[in-house]
């Protein structure tokens, strides 16, 4: 079984001497051959993640989703040849970019002791609007540095794509904003490899 780690530019494959690489077009797929599937504990995922993050310190890369495997080299060749051009294009777009993840946690508004169904729905709508305003504010705040911003599926976090040299500025602005908002907790993690900005590769 072959575990896929990341896609890098073809001339950058040497950055991970402990991994094998398969070249296709202008890219190389970093992989390792293993007897067992990737582990399922969070520690296994974190260990894999640390390796990917360390690689991303040295070269632009497209991280593969954890657990991505192919049965053999023949299938790896087929997959790589089919996607090499799209991977190369996205790698170029993401070169020098990193990702911050921004948590936006609004303080809950205390509910009235006794409310009607209508009042309850109005309160829920206002909660959603407060959250939407916080998201919009965060987008505007980092807009000068960002190439793309995405709301992650839980609706509480933003993934922000930006140049690596701008990450500290964006983080400082977000954290400063969080400190003056007494109704909002802002937590920023990263910089990460651009995990949340790779799916375009699979679009036709």
């Amino acid at each position: 079984m072959i575990v896929l780690h990341a896609v890098v530019a073809r001339d950058a494959a040497a950055v991970a001497p402990e991994l094998r690489h398969h070249d296709a077009g202008q890219v190389s797929v970093l992989y390792e051959e293993v007897a067992d599937p990737p582990g399922r504990d969070s520690e296994d995922v974190v260990e894999h993640g640390r390796r990917v993050v360390q690689l991303a310190e040295h070269v632009p890369l497209l991280p593969m989703r954890y657990g991505t495997t192919v049965p053999d080299l023949e299938r790896l060749r087929a997959v790589a040849e089919e996607r090499a051009e799209a991977w190369s294009r996205r790698l170029a777009e993401l070169a020098g970019r990193c990702e911050l993840v921004v948590h936006l946690e609004l303080s809950p508004v205390p509910a009235p002791v006794a409310v009607s169904g209508r009042d309850y729905l109005k309160a829920r709508i206002e909660d959603v609007r407060r959250h939407d305003r916080a998201v919009d504010d965060a987008r505007m705040l980092v807009g000068r540095w960002t190439q793309e911003v995405r709301l992650l599926v839980d609706g509480r976090r933003l993934a922000v794509l930006l140049r690596r040299e701008d990450a500290d500025h964006a983080r400082a602005a977000l954290e400063s904003w969080g400190r003056i908002r007494d109704d909002l907790e802002v937590t920023v993690t990263g910089p990460w490899p651009p995990f949340s900005f790779c799916e375009e590769v699979e679009r036709p």
């Binding site: 974190v46 993640g49 497209l62 989703r65 954890y66 657990g67 948590h103 509480r156 799916e199 699979e202």
Partner: protein, 66 residues
């Protein structure tokens, strides 16, 4: 770009790292990819503790995401 120097709480950072490793990255489609059903359970567990970010640390320290 190291996990160790991330401010804002290492526990939250680690949860984000695991979440993005499983929920992001290049996704291959088709029959050449073997899925890891067990990882989905890790993902689900993490997503449950993600909601209140400030409470992630204590939850992780109790080993609730294993």
């Amino acid at each position: 770009m190291t996990v160790e120097r991330i401010p804002g709480g290492e526990d939250v950072a680690l949860v984000d790292l695991v979440d993005r490793l499983i929920g992001g990255g290049v996704v291959l489609t088709g029959d050449v990819v073997l899925s890891l059903a067990g990882v989905d359970l890790v993902y689900l567990g993490l997503r449950l503790v993600l909601a209140p970010a400030h409470e992630v640390g204590p939850v992780l320290s109790r080993g609730a995401v294993r």
